[in-house]
């Protein structure tokens, strides 16, 4: 299934060495929608602690569905999601310490930036004063501490996305799930946010599962890329990206980077059949 690691010898980074202990395991997950569409067929995947895993594929390959199943939004038709290291609540459900970032910023337009970021804590019963420090810390991480009292409509698209990320981080999750978070942004803003996300990940070492349809974005960000194909949605290949961190412009313009991109693109193309009309 998985391709051999590219024979470019690169030093093993601290970030990629850290993962070993599995944090979430998908065990033969399938998802069939009520209209008969097979969104996901027999997907198995183990994600280690501290990994940055990208799910890469064309639309309809079930990458978002997989992410939502990991998040617990919608049940798998068959198969199981296991969280080996997480504690379980009274009802026997794993207490998923996760943050989720949607494709749209998904902010409440009637609430200020502060109140939007406060929301996850507020739902767990934390008062405004009790949450203030953590909310402001999360806003500082994304560089928006000066905009706490602004309303979402007063912010640019990139800033809204940063608020969304701050909201996901405010609960200090162990796993951050991101569903094509930067797809709607312009290229320049997107690159900036990619860089910022990488800095935060290098600094805090969460586990990130990142859904994208951009080969270049996935290679730049990930320690491992899971390549998926559509009709039915399935995993077709895996590619580990053993480039050192911190990554920046020098990695993005290196031959190693373009080699990884070529490999990922070839995998994607190999799954597109002659009968697929894109």
């Amino acid at each position: 299934m998985s391709t051999t690691a590219p024979n470019l010898v690169v030093p093993h980074s601290a970030a990629s060495a850290a993962h070993g202990r599995p944090i979430v395991r998908l065990d033969h997950i399938s998802k069939t929608f009520s209209n008969g569409t097979i969104a996901l067929k027999d997907m198995s995947l183990t994600i280690g602690e501290g990994e940055f895993v990208s799910l890469l594929g064309p639309s309809g390959c079930g990458k978002s569905t997989a992410l939502r199943i990991i998040a617990g939004l919608g049940e798998a038709t068959t198969g199981r999601v296991e969280w080996p290291t997480m504690s379980h609540d009274a009802a026997g459900k794993p207490e998923r310490e996760i943050g989720f970032v949607f494709q749209e910023p998904t902010l409440m337009p009637w609430a200020t930036v502060f109140k939007n970021v406060w929301l996850p804590l507020r739902l767990h019963g934390l008062s405004k004063t009790a949450a203030r420090e953590r909310v402001m810390a999360a806003l500082e991480m994304v560089g928006l501490e000066k905009f706490a009292d602004s309303y979402p409509r007063e912010l640019s698209g990139g800033m809204k996305m940063r608020v969304s990320i701050a909201r996901a981080l405010v609960t200090r999750p162990r796993v951050l799930l991101m569903d094509e978070p930067f797809a709607a942004l312009d290229e320049i803003t997107r690159q900036k946010l990619n860089d910022d996300l990488l800095r935060l990940w290098e600094q805090f070492g969460w586990t990130i599962v990142f859904v994208t349809h951009s080969v270049f974005e996935s290679v730049y960000l990930s320690s491992r890329i899971v390549i998926m194909a559509a009709r039915p949605g399935r995993v077709i290949d895996e590619l580990s990206v053993d480039a050192p961190h911190p990554r920046g412009i020098s990695f993005r313009t290196s031959t190693a980077y373009s080699d990884y991109c070529r490999q990922a693109s070839e995998s994607l193309l190999s799954a597109i059949g002659a009968n697929d009309h894109l």
Partner: protein, 287 residues
């Protein structure tokens, strides 16, 4: 009007273009916004006065504005009493309609089955003309006042209910997912997400219901044919018609118009104040 001296500012066109980077209106335009309607009003009243005197229109056909004003002052004790009665019914009906409409809309949003069971009756309530049911309500209600209240409520209830129900259903799906993800209870989802999301819809319903409550209070009084000391403006209008006291009829009509405009103004202002920071409808755009 102290705004007269500001008209000279409006004469300088470049002044208008420079202003309002922060979304506000230029002072000159603000002055014009007051002056234009006032000038129009004065012109219309002047035309009315001129028409009645120039053509010698008898006052029992069309009284001049001076006669109407006189009647307003002389008959104020009677008219104000009637206005108070009409206002009481209007606001009581509107109040009950607001509470009831929002509560039932919330009930509908909680369960698909409740919605399925009750929505036909909501439609029946809405489509049945209130004038046609008024006689029945008069029989069943303990007093005429109660009957009027029920009639006005029937009319004002539906816009509040249907708008709020629509608003509660139109909540952003991703935000609902987010609340689910963070383990929000049904109550938390309602308070922190569904109700704020439904607010613009509710306010639109309120604006419609405010006007309708007044109309319904008057129509119901016509239908009920109430009379005597405890009567509202509708009865005074009928009474003036029978007695050919047309100036008083006009005065009563003016009071009704004024009340309607005031209700619309207050509900619009409320809507603006609540939505101006975040909702598209309240945001001024410059292109």
């Amino acid at each position: 009007m102290s705004s007269m001296d500001q008209t000279s500012v409006a004469a300088a066109p470049q002044e208008e273009k420079v202003a309002s980077p922060g979304g506000g209106i230029a002072p000159s335009e603000r002055a014009l916004r007051i002056i234009v309607p006032v000038v129009m009003l004065v012109a219309l009243v002047g035309l009315w006065e001129w028409y009645t005197t120039a053509y010698n229109v008898p006052h029992y056909i069309l009284p001049g504005p001076d006669l109407v004003a006189q009647s307003m002052i002389n008959d104020w004790p009677v008219l104000s009493q009637a206005l108070l009665v009409t206002l009481k019914i209007t606001f009581a009906a509107l109040g009950i309609a607001l509470v009831g409409g929002v509560l039932i809309a919330i009930l509908f949003a909680q369960s698909k089955w409740i919605e399925l069971a009750l929505s036909p009756y909501m439609v029946i309530l809405q489509v049945t003309p209130v004038v046609a049911v008024a006689p029945l309500i008069l029989i069943y209600a303990p007093s005429t006042q109660a009957a009027l209240l029920i009639c006005a409520w029937l009319v004002a209830f539906f816009p509040v209910f249907s708008n709020t129900a629509q608003g509660l259903k139109s909540t952003d799906h991703n935000l609902l997912n987010l609340f689910e993800l963070y383990g929000a209870s049904r109550w938390q989802t309602l308070i922190h997400l569904k109700l704020p999301a439904a607010l613009p819809f509710f306010l639109a319903g309120l604006r419609i219901a405010g006007g309708l409550a007044l109309i319904a209070a008057v129509v119901a009084e016509f239908a009920a044919g109430s009379a005597g000391a405890g009567s509202g403006l509708a009865f005074r209008i009928l009474e003036s018609q029978y007695r050919l006291n047309i100036p008083r009829l006009f005065a009563a009509l003016l009071l009704l118009c004024g009340t309607g405009v005031a209700i619309y103004g207050v509900t619009s202002l409320l809507s603006h104040l609540l939505l101006r920071r975040w909702h598209e409808s309240a945001i001024r755009r410059e292109n």
